[in-house]
Each structure stands twice: as structure tokens, then as C-alpha cells.
Symmetry: C2
Subunit: 381 residues, 2 copies
């Protein structure tokens, strides 16, 4: 008789009509019926990405789209700037290294955002003698809850020959990212975050500047080859069998999002984030990223004497409320409450309520209900 609540930064909860769409009788993908769905989702994705460029659907996790960005833009021997301020920034470095691309790493203290000027300096004076051909960044670093100023970075990269690549797996469709207006050449995302779908689909957008690089890139590729994807897209098709039920679910999610409108979606995420942050502070807890906190996930330091891992486990296994623990070097030291996708105020209230309960049981001293009250005050504004 226990209810389950999901407040994790991917997967995020699935709206009932999106969940139901997956269960409909399957249709074949090379039919006019499925082509009509593809046409609709392709348009919907351009709306969400705020681009007039092509957005490709890949059947993979978000990492597949990150790999697609690297192998389609670059050649072995190239160099690229990788901004690393968390686990997902590290992934760009690993990907570049796997394909023989020299990563010019800008190391950012975990919990802090990169200073865009550092990117300017690195572009002007790289460590190796190679001119970096791409700048790989992360919109919302899920592991630390930090948001990056993509708009400012876009202005800097636009003046160079390099392309700007943004991992917006966490964040797209939840916080503002003006792909075209901000000069984002390649934006990658995944289905299980702001788009309110199960994992299994990834997305990648491409600017005209990106296509100049794509046409010259020599990294080996096949499954993630965007030239093949482009050829298919131009006839409203996919190069390989797509995850049909997830694409149909995507069409439902995109309908909801278009109905809501991007401005409302971004406002809702900010409200959820503000309430969560206020609640944490009211409970005497310390935010892991006090100055650059993203609106999709809030990382909170486990207070002295409280094991963050145990807190997360108890909330999940005893009370059915799943939040996320810390990853890599933050394991046990932080917990993370996501407020992304199909989340509204009462989900946040449930999450805070459960957090208060377990913190109290674990012996942490605070005024019971203080977090809830702080959130309520935000929601009543």
C-alpha cells in the first residue's frame, strides 16, 4: 500500500498520458502513420530546442548523443576545450580521449560555475599548439546542481572558428536555452529529464557552423553518423529502427509542453527550485552550489554527523520517496533533490516532508515543519 514518489534528476516522473502512449498497439516505423508522428515530433523538438536547425532523434541514452557530437564534429588529432566541473563534464574528456582528440581541460571546482572568460583565454592560448575546434560544456551539471552561463559562453565562442557544444541532457525543456540566439552549435539532450519521458531517446541539434565541421570530420562512426541521420530526416525517416513507443510517447510529451509554453515551463521550474532552496536553508542545511544553483536539481550538503547515503536509502526504502545521493567524490557528502519535468508544488512538499522526517529520525536538530513552511511561503507568493 506504499505510494512511490520520484524526485531524481533522471528519470523524472512520467505524466499519465505519456506513460499510456507507450502501451498502445505498436505500429511499424516505415509507414505513413509513423511518418506523421515523426513529422510532429521533429517540429516539436525544434520548438523545445529553440532552433530552426535540424534536431536528430537517436535511440540511445544521452551519452550516445554526446558521442555523436564528438565523432561527427572532430577528427583524431584535433583538440577541444572541455569544461569539467562535475561527473558529466568529465564525460566530455573521456569521450574526446577515446577518439584521439586532445582535451584542453578547464577544471572548475565542483559546486562552482565556469567563468566564461576562462574559455576565452583557453581559446586564445591553448595549452597544446592546436587550435581548439570545439568547446564542450554542460548546461546543468547534474552531479553538483550547478548551472552554466551558456549565453555568455556563446558570445565568446561565436567570434572564433570553434563550435559550441552544450550537454543539455539535464535542463533542456526545463530552463531557458536559446540554441540559435545564443550561438549553440550543437545541443544534446536526453528523454528522461525535462522532456518527461522514460530514458531511451537522445537528441542532437546542429547549426550551419556545425555542419561545416561535420562535413570535414574524420572520426570513425556508423550508428551515430549524422550524415546518415540527415539523409533519413530529409525524408522524414530514421536511419535505423527507432524506439517506436518512446517516439510516440514523445509526441504526447511535446503536445503538453507546447500547450504549456516554454515561458510557463521555465517559470514553474524556477518556482520549484526557489521553494526547495528556501526549504533547505530554513532547515539549516547548506546548499552545495549556493551561487550557481540550477533550477532542475538542488544539491545539499549532508549536515555534520548525517550520512547522506543512509538518508537517501531510508527515504526511498522506508518511505518510498526517491531522491538522489552524491556521485563520485560527493558520495555520502551531498544529497540531491530534483525538481525537473513533471513536478509541481505538492511533489516538492512531499519531498521536503519526508526529508524532515528522516533527518529528525537520524538525530539532526531543526524545527520540524520549518522547511515545509518556507516552501509554502514561496508557493503563496
Amino acid at each position: 500500500m506504499r505510494k512511490n514518489y520520484l524526485l531524481t534528476p533522471g528519470p523524472t516522473p512520467i505524466p499519465p498520458q505519456v506513460a499510456e502512449a507507450q502501451a498502445r498497439p505498436i505500429i511499424h516505423h516505415r509507414t505513413p502513420q509513423f511518418q506523421a508522428v515523426l513529422k510532429e515530433v521533429n517540429e516539436g523538438l525544434e520548438f523545445i530546442f529553440q532552433t530552426t536547425g535540424d534536431v536528430f532523434i537517436l535511440t540511445s541514452s544521452g551519452t550516445g548523443a554526446m558521442e555523436a557530437a564528438v565523432v561527427n564534429l572532430l577528427s583524431p588529432g584535433d583538440s577541444a576545450i572541455c569544461v569539467e566541473g562535475g561527473k558529466f563534464g568529465e564525460r566530455w574528456i573521456e569521450l574526446c580521449s577515446a577518439y584521439g582528440i586532445t582535451p584542453e581541460v578547464i577544471k572548475v571546482e565542483w559546486g562552482k560555475a565556469v567563468d566564461p572568460q576562462e574559455i576565452r583565454s583557453k581559446l586564445q592560448a591553448p595549452s597544446s599548439k592546436l587550435k581548439p575546434k570545439a568547446v564542450f560544456t554542460t548546461l546543468c551539471e547534474t552531479s553538483t546542481g550547478v548551472a552554466t552561463d551558456i549565453e555568455a559562453i556563446g558570445k565568446i565562442v561565436k567570434e572564433t572558428d570553434a563550435v559550441l557544444v552544450v550537454d543539455a541532457i539535464s535542463g533542456l525543456g526545463a530552463v531557458d536555452l536559446k540554441t540559435d540566439a545564443w550561438g549553440v552549435d550543437v545541443c544534446v539532450s536526453g528523454s528522461q529529464k525535462g522532456l518527461m519521458l522514460p530514458p531511451g531517446l537522445a537528441f542532437i541539434s546542429t547549426s550551419i557552423k556545425a555542419w561545416e565541421k561535420i562535413n570535414a570530420a574524420k572520426c570513425p562512426k556508423y550508428y551515430f553518423d549524422l550524415k546518415a541521420a540527415k539523409k533519413a530526416l530529409d525524408s522524414t525517416d530514421t536511419p535505423f529502427t527507432p524506439a517506436i513507443t518512446l517516439v510516440i510517447a514523445l509526441s504526447e510529451a511535446l503536445k503538453m509542453m507546447r500547450q504549456d509554453g516554454l515561458e510557463n515551463i521555465f517559470k514553474r521550474h524556477k518556482l520549484m527550485a526557489d521553494a526547495t532552496r528556501a526549504a533547505m536553508i530554513a532547515l539549516g542545511l547548506e546548499l552545495f552550489a549556493p551561487t550557481a544553483g540550477s533550477d532542475v536539481v538542488t544539491a545539499v550538503k549532508a549536515p555534520a554527523g548525517i550520512d547522506g547515503e543512509k538518508l537517501v536509502k531510508t527515504m526511498r526504502d522506508t518511505y518510498g520517496v526517491t531522491i538522489a545521493g552524491g556521485q563520485a567524490e560527493l558520495k555520502g557528502k551531498v544529497f540531491r533533490i530534483a525538481h525537473m519535468g513533471f513536478i509541481e508544488e505538492f511533489d516538492i512538499i512531499v519531498g521536503i516532508s519526508c526529508l524532515e522526517k528522516v533527518l529528525r529520525q537520524m538525530g539532526y536538530k531543526f524545527e520540524l515543519g520549518a522547511g515545509l513552511k518556507a516552501a509554502q511561503e514561496i508557493f503563496l507568493r
Copy 2:
């Protein structure tokens, strides 16, 4: 008020309990709850693959698993034998070429099966001076309906240093493939065929001999890196966020298949194939692969004066019965009726009935009901 019937070689129809499983509230993948599912599906996959080796789940279409086989087993500059008797055999050649591997092509006439002795000859006397390190084959060539004698090929490859790789995307869990007993080192498959799932998952099995190659292989890779997959599998995890709802659906499909038993599943597929073939012959139609027809899909030549594409379109768009047309050089010349996965005798009856109706409308001369009667006779045996 029209009902839709799916008789295509992927996707295949989804059983109701498998479809429903996708729509359940989503759970997080790094939880004991999901680990229990992963453990169960990993065991179920070993059962279906008839192997004691590791079987990895990838979030991709089947082509992703084919790429995983190539990049994990080989290094640029290697050579490999590719058996090409259809569109999917061609894919092995394209994949090898994309990664700098010289394909030693054994060209087989479309509609015929490869003679295993040709593989022996090619292994002993390759065209290039390189010793082929792998033999890439196709269990059931979906584009032509041809079945390959993997058991015989296994005996030949086993005596060499090369590994045998089988594309069993079409066929696994539908016709017999004894991965371990027949010496199949790497077997790849997809979710939307014999496993009765939507597309979106791919699978790859690995023998001990395969791991010797994997440990030495130098092709670049990241998303499809089996060493990372192995590390994750050993702690009942996946290296990247898996397609959670599809994995949960997989656990339902595997339960059904274990309950049925492999022998019964294979017998059922043979019965459906026999009935389909008998019906086509009774209608005076010619099978595209009269001697090596697989039990998962039957390719039939469009009779003189009948446009195969128009036949398929009319069946689908006017009557709701979706079969497949011909691919590549067979476009318009053949149609293909699949009898794979969640298909039983009355699905075949519906398919034949609709085919008879449309053939009659298109002016083809035959005795109405002759196909149905021939199928009935097989089903009554």
C-alpha cells in the same frame, strides 16, 4: 472502427502484459528495485541465448549491437570475413569499412544461403594477406527470408583463431541458436523481433574467445565499450542510463518465454512458417527462398503484373494488415510476411485472407480460399 494487424519482421506485435509493463510508474535505475529486474533479465537473456557467457543490454537499435561487435573485437587494419546475401549482411561490410577494417566479402546470391565451405576456403586463403580475425554472419536475413546454417559454420570457425559473430537480430528467441554449443562467440540481437518488445534495446553475448579479442581490440569506442559494460554488469548495473521501461517490459516478455520453453517457441515458429509457405504455394505464388527459407519471415515474389509495393500499401492502408515490401534491389519485386514473436495461427489466417482479397482485387488469377485452406490443413495436423 478498423482493427490493425502487424505481420512485419520487426517490430512484431507486443503481448498485452508486455505493453502494459511499459506504462507502469517509472522507477530509478540505480535502486535495489531496478537491480532485481536487471538480475532477472540477465538470467533470462542467458536462457534465450543458450549461453553461460555474459549477455549485455544496450540502449540502441540492433545496429548498435552490430557496431559494438565490430569495435570491441577488432582493430583498424584488421580483416574480417563478411557474408553478404542481403541488406543486413551488407551492414557488416559497411560497419567494418567505417572502422578501417578490411572486409573479406563472401557474396551470396540474394535468396540463397551461404555454403559453409566458402567460409572455410576464405579463412584458409583470404584475398588480402591478413588473416581474418572474425567471421560476420546473419542468422535470418530479413531482407530475403533466408536462414543460415550457423551450426555448420560454427564447426569451421571453431578450428581457427577467428571469432564467429552472428547477427541474430531477426531470429533469436524464434528459431534455434545454440550460442555456446555451436561455437558462436558473439551473438547480437534486438528487442523488436523474437523477444516481442518494442525496438530500443539491443543485446550482445560474448564467449571467452571473444574476450581475448576484446581485450586486444583497438577500435575507438565509448558508448558501446563492452569493457565498461562488463564492469557495470558485474555489479548488476549498466554503464549508462538504460531504457528503464523497455527493460521492465523485457522482464515480462522473458517470463512468458521461459514459461513457454524454447522448444515450444521454435515449434510454433516452424508451424507458422510451414502454414504460410503452404498457403503461398497453394495460391500459385513463388517463394523467394524456396530452399533456405527461415521460420521467421517468408519472402514471396510478386506475381507477373502485380506491383508488390501497391499490394503491401493496399493491405495496410485499406485493410489494416501490415506486411513488409521488398528492400533495396527487391523493392516492388517481393513482399514479406513475418511470422515472428507473438504470432499464432489466427494471425496467419488473417494475413493470408487479406492477401487473397487484395490479390484478387489486383487481378491476379487463383482459386479464392486456396491459401487459407492450405494453412488450415497445416494447422490441423
